[in-house]
Symmetry: C2
Subunit: 158 residues, 2 copies
């Protein structure tokens, strides 16, 4: 199949300058504030976004050099298929986070609950609509009972 190409629509400015110490989940970093700077040509697309309390950010994990088909979370010590994990070391270094949208100042989105490194290229932003999420008969496989450990974990920790 053809290679898929995307042009970043913006960039993250965050306190996480390197690869280490980044929360592994947005939900585990409620107090972390950051900005998304939307590039000038896309500002018009932000109209009405300020009515939403949370947004889904799709971004490229630009610090990841190489993917893997297996992942071993530091708080689990067992190897899993990468598609059954949130590991950043995936065949395509693509990630999504639901973050809180605090305010919008023209091209700057002030966000909190952030797990993104400084300089992260942003590919898309969508409104977060919890009513679309499934709520019945959910099973979370090997993660059952381990969500709290996952939220406490940061990158670079083993």
């Amino acid at each position: 199949m053809d290679i898929v190409k995307y042009k970043p629509i913006g960039v993250v400015h965050s306190p996480f300058k390197g690869g280490g110490g980044i929360p592994r989940q947005a939900a585990g970093a409620p107090d972390v504030a950051a900005q998304i700077e939307i590039f000038n040509e896309y500002i018009e697309g932000l109209t009405d976004l300020d009515g939403f309390s949370h947004i889904v950010v799709i971004f490229h994990l630009h610090l990841v050099q190489k993917g893997s088909l297996k992942a071993c979370p530091p708080w689990d010590h067992k190897e899993h298929g990468v598609f059954a994990t949130c590991s950043p070391y995936r065949p395509n270094a693509i990630a999504l986070s639901v973050v809180r949208l605090e305010s919008i100042e023209r091209k700057i989105l002030n966000i909190s609950s952030v797990d993104m490194a400084d300089g992260t290229p942003v590919l898309d932003i969508k409104p977060y609509i919890p009513d679309l999420n499934p709520t019945k008969a959910i099973r979370v496989g090997w993660l059952e009972g381990k969500i709290k450990d996952m939220n406490k974990s940061k990158s670079g920790e083993r």
Copy 2:
């Protein structure tokens, strides 16, 4: 910023052969069944995925020719910034759906609640973990009170 490139890890086989008639949201299509065929080189990454009832599928909207910065949902009749909508006509034609994972047979994921066209390139699969989603103080802006209309809508309808 540099162009971001991804190589599809799989392809969707679904009953929606063209651009019309596709449910606009996975949540609006609980009875629609489809398959994701994972390409051979990525099969190892599926290990342990079968424990999850739902998965997040990130995919490329390959039928979309051109993006726009404004979108006018057919059930709303008002224009909004595209990042405040789920319109497929976005600067980057990238989408995500939470679908039900019915079973896995080697390289085939049998899924339901599907809003993807046949032939859709799949970029990534992640486990769906509802405990990571925000639940407090949610506002959904212009979509308030309109979620049901959105779920009933299909592509090509005006």
